[in-house]
């Protein structure tokens, strides 16, 4: 992008920079090639023996399909969306809107944020262990849906809270001031103006949290267990989901089960891709209409020049539609 035309340089310097360029491209290839190999490999392995009936037949001890596992994963996702989505979004709202310096909320906001960070750094298997000992064994539940949802929610709440807080902070101050000037009550303006503006960012965070939730295996093994069919009980019977199929069936003696493992991997990848593409579309759509796309080009510089007024006052070239993301250089 920045085509840097070097001044006449000594041969060694030129050679160094050529090697440097080659190495950066090599690094890119070394990342992209396995990524592409992984995606294509998963699809190819599943596609060669794919049958659509996998989607609507039940799993049997000898083969069958993955209907209940797919439904189970979707149920887990919806439950996590409801539980973690509510709590995470509300926590994010609190951290972004309701903390005041000098008040109790201001004092506790830093420890609360740290707690959230610490929680997001917890290895998933450790949370799985906690769920197993405290909920499954301790509370006398069995391996089932409810402990799985609780543990998965604890995993993704910090993530949702963080994205919510960040997107609320990006709502322009003018919007809030405008709402105040129109005489809206604080709650009403929060709901109708602030949250509405921040919604795309919040939804993106929710979708990515869902992508995390649907791909987890380790915490589910010891909270949800596994079963061939959907159970009727929330806390007493084991629950089916897709990742278990991948984890266990690939080294099963039967070929049918191998196929099911590949199929489950393919379905998981498709779900994750759908979530990612959806979040991308939301981001792209909102950027097209928001003014943040235009201000993003003049993002405040980092570090030493952060408060340099001459930089902040740099004019933004307005080249019309289609050029919003052009760098200012």
């Amino acid at each position: 992008m920045n085509t840097l035309v070097a001044a006449p340089a000594a041969r060694r310097r030129r050679a160094t920079t050529q090697v440097w360029r080659a190495l950066t491209y090599l690094a890119l290839v070394l990342i992209m090639a396995p990524a592409a190999w992984l995606l294509i490999g998963v699809v190819a392995r599943a596609w060669s023996h794919w049958r659509w009936s996998v989607l609507w037949t039940q799993l049997t001890p000898t083969g069958g399909g993955l209907r209940d596992q797919i439904l189970g994963t979707l149920i887990l996702m919806v439950a996590v969306l409801v539980v973690a989505g509510t709590i995470g979004v509300m926590a994010g709202i609190h951290l972004a809107e309701f903390t005041r310096k000098g008040k109790l909320s201001g004092w506790v906001s830093a420890p609360l944020r740290t707690a959230s960070d610490v929680l997001s750094g917890f290895p998933s298997i450790v949370l799985g262990y906690v769920g197993f000992t405290a909920l499954v064994v301790g509370l006398g539940w069995r391996l089932s849906l409810l402990p799985a949802v609780i543990i998965l929610s604890i995993m993704v709440i910090p993530y949702i809270a963080k994205t919510t807080e960040n997107s609320l902070r990006q709502v322009p101050t003018g919007y809030r001031e405008g709402a105040d000037a129109l005489g809206m009550s604080a709650g009403y303006s929060l709901r109708k103006v602030v949250l509405k503006t921040a919604l795309p960012g919040i939804v993106t965070g929710l979708l990515l949290a869902l992508a995390i939730a649907c791909g987890e295996t380790a915490p589910l093994l010891y909270t949800a267990g596994f079963s061939n069919t959907l159970p009727h009980s929330l806390t007493q019977s084991q629950f089916p989901y897709l990742t278990y199929v991948v984890f266990t069936f690939y080294n099963d003696p039967s070929v049918q089960k191998h196929y099911l493992a590949y199929d489950a991997a393919l379905i998981l990848v498709v779900i994750v891709m759908l979530l990612l593409v959806a979040s991308r579309i939301i981001v792209a759509r909102t950027q097209r209409y928001s003014e943040s796309a235009r201000t993003a080009a003049t993002r405040r510089p980092f570090g030493r020049f952060r408060n340099d007024p001459s930089l902040a006052a740099l004019p933004v070239p307005d080249l019309g539609p289609g050029f919003e993301n052009l760098p200012t250089s």
Partner: protein, 363 residues
């Protein structure tokens, strides 16, 4: 007179009319809801923001209580010991030492596990950081948006792929490929000197430490690369252009201007990746072989703390005294302390970067 307030539904014309016409009950209710809406938001948000803290305290308490007997009985041996056995089988006698019931002969030294955890994460970091840096440079500095955007999206997809799927690919496709095509070449050409001997034969079947490290690297590349890419995009163009106007080559601009500008941010991102690598479970359990040993060559099976908890918790429950499960809680506690510590360090570094001025000109 009375119709003014009622029909128009707006502010009453005069104070008298307000007193005369009391608004209907539903409007009063709506008004009251509107007045108290903020209080509602506030109280619900207060409860919600306390829940992560509550969950954290809950998790740590559960682990600590559960691990306490193991901490007392295993002592420091847990951190350096090399024998890991739950005693002489399920039919062995139950004995009580220091008030902790356990199976006779039980001895838990987790050095091999801790070693495996650190080794695989270090391999992953050593591979992932240079690759991410190079790729981020290529994406931000050298490519038009129409190429770099889809490539960036591919990296994002890589971040979203479930680790169990990556594990499946690693154990069925990537590991065997490495064992057939790459490892023999390295192993056969390694001189038999200390340190390098570690890369020598036997090179195994692709199920082991090096494969797990490489796959872990692939899993943390998205974290490091995307953070680094964002950091590079935040370096203002003027210093870079100034540098190249002074006659600096691409490499010199990168080395002298861009990298110093974002150095601590990159360190923070790398440590964040390290935290993820330490806690990764499923992929390592599938690819690493989950055999509890310190491998003699870098290609051999090993296990990590996360993988050990995953693979052993089921069997641990046959220990009727609960000591094995308690030991796994201790392992979980150690793992949690390490990865939470690493994460906090990373966050402190990242937070500091966004405050302190960039070190330009060797400041």
């Amino acid at each position: 007179m009375t119709t003014v307030g009622g029909v128009a539904g707006s502010v009453p014309a005069t104070p008298q009319s307000a007193a005369l016409s009391k608004p209907p009950w539903h409007r009063r209710a709506a008004d009251s809801i509107r007045r108290n809406e903020e209080a509602g938001w506030r109280s619900v948000a207060w409860v919600a923001v306390l829940l992560p803290l509550a969950a954290l305290v809950f998790a740590i308490t559960v682990l600590a209580i559960k691990a306490w007997p193991a901490v007392r009985l295993n002592g420091w041996y847990f951190l350096y010991g090399r024998t890991w056995t739950d005693g002489h089988g399920a039919y062995a006698a139950t004995v009580t030492t220091d008030g902790v019931k356990h199976i006779q002969g039980a001895q838990f030294g987790a050095w091999a596990i801790i070693w495996g955890t650190l080794a695989s994460s270090i391999i992953a970091i050593v591979i992932a950081v240079p690759l991410s840096l190079g790729a981020a440079f290529a994406l931000t500095e050298r490519m038009p948006t129409w190429i770099s955007r889809p490539l960036g999206f591919t990296v994002e997809i890589l971040a979203g792929i479930p680790s169990v799927v990556i594990g499946l690919w690693g154990i069925l496709t990537f590991g065997p490929w490495l064992a057939n095509n790459v490892y023999p070449v390295i192993a056969d050409n390694m001189p038999d000197v200390p340190l390098l001997r570690y890369f020598g034969n036997p090179h195994g079947s692709g199920e082991g430490l090096l494969t797990a490290g490489i796959v872990l690297a692939l899993m943390i590349v998205p974290i490091i690369a995307s953070t680094t890419r964002d950091l590079f995009a935040q370096v203002p163009p003027l210093p870079k252009e100034g540098a190249s106007a002074l006659g600096m080559t691409d490499w010199e601009v990168a080395n002298k201007v861009t990298l110093p500008w974002v150095r601590s941010g990159i360190i923070g991102a790398s440590v964040l990746g390290l935290g993820r690598a330490l806690g990764e479970t499923i992929a390592v359990a599938m690819i690493g072989g989950a055999i509890q040993q310190i491998p003699h060559t870098i290609y051999q099976p090993f296990t990590t703390a996360a993988a050990a908890i995953l693979t052993q918790l089921d069997g641990a429950q046959t220990d009727g005294t609960g000591f094995y499960v308690a030991t796994l809680a201790e392992l979980a506690l150690v793992l949690a302390v390490i990865s939470v510590g690493v994460n906090l360090v990373a966050r402190i570094i990242v937070n500091r970067t966004s405050r302190v001025a960039a070190p330009l000109g060797g400041a």
